[in-house]
């Protein structure tokens, strides 16, 4: 990530805030940190230990009369990739050490509004661990498809302005650099057909457009507020697709097809709402329309088709004492679907979850079943438990069980059920 700091996109904004920050005592007014160990064990096969990691996380904040800064970062070293390890060299290089900023930005008050500049995460919509309106930040899939969004969202460099307007909040953002979803390294524990690349026996990828600078920018607008008893969000985004699309460039000398790995630009508009329906029920809904969406289609001479796409979500939350029970249905439909597209015309995903706290909040539990019908083809069962008996100790346990066909999101990880354990010291 270090080279991202050298990109010029944010320089102007950061320069504006330099004077601001100069007034501040850079010793943070608030900080916290966590150091710990984490391990993962596959429940099948040989070489079952898949992670032996040491991690460090830190959070710094300070403020002054006209602004503030926030920084949250994490570093991880995984000893599993030392010595005689079962994964590819690419996986070793990718996973042995990793570091990223969860956010790093400066804020400046402008009247009632607020300008923030730096690496930020922006979450749109009200979906629980599903992405309908939440399209701003790309995801890091290096830990597979089951990691919580809060851990896998990649912070992007952006300039963002928010200001209240009565009961509403208006937001405008300009993302200065493009970043794609990060797939697991080939030959790594979480590599799967979902992240497959064109078969090199038939295709050669000989170019990738440079999305640095002006070609990589994105911009978006949102408004969040209320209409009567209904919470309403309206969003619009112009950005590049975070997953690659392959365009045919011609024939290579050896007869293989030459492909270009592209991230086409699209426009998305959408809205979401939430309402307390009584009887302990909150209903949430989101609808997003994608224009100029591209889907790889190997049967087309140009290698990809343009289409319109709709994603929708209906969620119901039921509060039962200290438990929040949620049911969500996400539907995605490619409106101009063509035969050969590497994306289904319709995609459904259902999630059933229960999230609760117990023993004076010392134990937090999250139980999830996610599936795509028919049930036997694609199922994830997940349990995440965090136990914090005292303020300085955090113990984590996660169980992921996969069922289904090998070409489906969760079924692809069948036989890679896993147990994750962690222990962190907080200070």
């Amino acid at each position: 990530m270090s080279n991202r700091f050298l990109k010029p996109g944010l320089c102007a904004g950061l320069a504006l805030l330099t004077v601001d920050a100069a007034h501040a005592d850079l010793t943070p007014a608030y900080w916290d940190a966590e150091v710990g160990v984490a391990s993962a064990v596959r429940l099948h096969g040989d070489d079952r230990v898949t992670q032996k990691a040491l991690y460090f996380k830190a959070n710094l904040e300070d403020s002054w009369d006209s602004g503030y800064y926030k920084a949250r970062g994490r570093v991880r070293y995984d000893a599993r990739y030392e010595g005689n390890q079962p994964y590819s060299d690419e996986a070793r290089d990718d996973y042995r050490t990793s570091a990223d900023w969860r956010h790093l930005y400066w804020g400046h008050y402008l009247g009632d509004g607020e300008l923030t500049v730096g690496w930020q995460q922006v979450v749109w919509g009200r979906a629980d661990e599903l992405r309908v309106l939440d399209q701003v930040n790309p995801l890091d899939y290096r830990e597979g498809v089951t990691a919580l969004l809060e851990d896998s969202r990649i912070a992007l460099p952006m300039v963002r302005f928010t200001r209240p307007l009565g009961e509403w909040e208006l937001e405008g953002l300009l993302i200065t650099d493009f970043e794609e979803n990060r797939a697991p390294a080939p030959g790594s524990e979480f590599d799967s057909v979902l992240f497959g690349k064109p078969d090199p026996s038939y295709f050669v990828i000989d170019s990738t457009p440079d999305y640095a600078g002006d070609d990589g920018f994105s911009y978006g607008l949102s408004a969040n507020g209320r209409m009567g008893e209904v919470d309403v969000s309206v969003v619009a985004l112009n950005a590049r697709q975070q997953d690659p699309v392959y365009a045919v460039e011609g024939l290579a000398d050896d007869g293989r097809l030459r492909l270009e790995r592209q991230h086409p630009r699209y426009t998305m508009g959408g809205a979401g709402l939430a309402v307390d329906a009584g009887y302990s029920i909150v209903v949430r809904s989101e609808l997003a329309y994608f224009d100029d969406w591209r889907v790889t289609n190997p049967t087309r001479s140009q290698g990809a088709d343009k289409t319109r796409m709709v994603k929708a979500l209906l969620g119901v939350d039921y509060l039962l004492r200290d438990w929040m029970l949620s049911l969500q249905w996400q539907e995605q439909q490619v409106l101009d679907w063509q035969a050969g597209m590497l994306q289904d015309r319709r995609d459904h995903l259902f999630t059933v979850s229960a999230e609760g706290t117990h023993f004076q909040d010392q134990l937090k539990s999250r139980l999830v079943m996610a599936f795509t019908p028919p049930l036997r083809d694609d199922v994830l069962l997940q349990g995440i438990f965090t136990y914090k008996p005292v303020d300085w100790l955090k113990l984590g346990l996660e169980v992921d069980l996969f069922f289904g066909k090998s070409d489906r999101s969760f079924g692809a990880y069948d036989q890679r059920d896993q147990l994750r354990l962690s222990a962190g010291y907080l200070f």
């Binding site: 007014a29 608030y30 916290d32 959070n59 904040e61 300070d62 403020s63 002054w64 009369d65 503030y68 008050y109 009632d112 607020e114 995460q121 922006v122 979450v123 919509g125 009200r126 969004l149 809060e150 928010t162 209240p164 009961e167 509403w168 909040e169 969040n224 507020g225 209320r226 008893e229 919470d231 939430a274 309402v275 307390d276 329906a277 009584g278 009887y279 302990s280 029920i281 909150v282 949430r284 939350d317 039921y318 509060l319 039962l320 004492r321 200290d322 706290t357 023993f359 004076q360 909040d361 010392q362 914090k388 008996p389 005292v390 303020d391 955090k394 907080l426």
Partner: protein, 278 residues
């Protein structure tokens, strides 16, 4: 959901001796109504420590800034948690329509880990407030018509003369919302502060007791500064300690919206000395 702290922190203008005499003839509904309608200023700001004691004697403290402002048809509350790190940035916003409006309150919660504001149903208030022995229902503002109340007599609590009332839910919905089949409540005869409350479950068992431990007069308003709730079944105990209490401040309306809790509380939003951090 948490119309809450009014029941705990707000207080009534100290009634003069004549008024106190008049209060001698109050019936149960009037006592509850006067408790609900105490003058607690048009706005309120406090730093609050929520202290959790487990049954082994271990203690954990959670600090938050609490703001309240009166509007024509409702009271609005915002709470911003500052420590410890696992709750830092968690925030609530509650809109509590006046009882005469006949409508339920609205609540939103911002969780910094998910960076999302979620609407929370207010029909079930039995859940624990941030892991404490206070349920959301316990912290609710008193409603006269949710219960049928009977005046049982008078007793002293902390040397103060109190009315003792029994309250039973007026409808199955109230029972479902609170989980309490009966409340026994001690109300200070002079300032109408709730000095003690016993909570009974559907089996008639006294499961919890809330006690006022410390009262102070701030800006001429009697205020609870320390409240304690003991859960007899779980063997746990929670305290709520109010600090830097201020009434009748000019608090900006933008602090009392559901979008405000995502932004968090920043320097300059409230009087400087009252910001516990940042």
């Amino acid at each position: 959901m948490l119309r809450m702290f009014k029941g705990l922190t707000a207080a009534v203008v100290i009634l003069a001796g004549g008024a106190a005499s008049a209060a001698e003839s109050l019936n149960a509904d009037e006592i509850i109504r006067m408790t609900r309608d105490r003058n607690d200023g048009h706005s309120f700001l406090s730093e609050v420590s929520l202290i959790l004691h487990d049954k082994k004697g271990n203690t954990r403290v959670r600090d938050f800034t609490y703001l309240q402002k009166d509007y024509a048809d409702s009271d609005k509350f915002s709470m911003f948690f500052t420590t410890p790190n696992d709750v830092r940035g968690v925030a609530f916003h509650i809109e509590n329509p006046h009882e005469a409006q006949g409508s339920e309150d609205s609540q939103w919660m911002y969780l910094p880990v998910s960076r999302q504001t979620r609407r929370i149903s207010t029909t079930d208030k039995r859940g624990s407030f941030m892991g404490s022995d206070y349920s959301y229902a316990d912290l609710d503002k008193i409603r006269v018509n949710d219960y049928q109340q009977t005046l049982l007599g008078e007793e002293q609590v902390l040397g103060r003369d109190c009315y003792v009332l029994e309250r039973v839910p007026a409808s199955p919905e109230v029972l479902t919302k609170t989980g309490y089949n009966k409340l026994k409540i001690w109300i200070d005869k002079q300032n109408f502060l709730v000095m003690r409350q016993d909570f009974f479950d559907v089996k008639g068992v006294n499961i919890k007791q809330m006690r006022t431990k410390q009262v102070a007069t701030v800006d001429k308003i009697d205020s609870i500064m320390l409240s304690e709730t003991e859960h007899f079944i779980d063997g746990t105990r929670s305290e709520m300690r109010f600090k830097q209490l201020q009434y009748n401040l000019e608090l900006d309306d933008r602090l009392f919206t559901q979008t405000a809790i995502r932004r968090g509380l920043k320097s300059g939003d409230v009087p400087k000395f009252a910001v516990s951090s940042l």
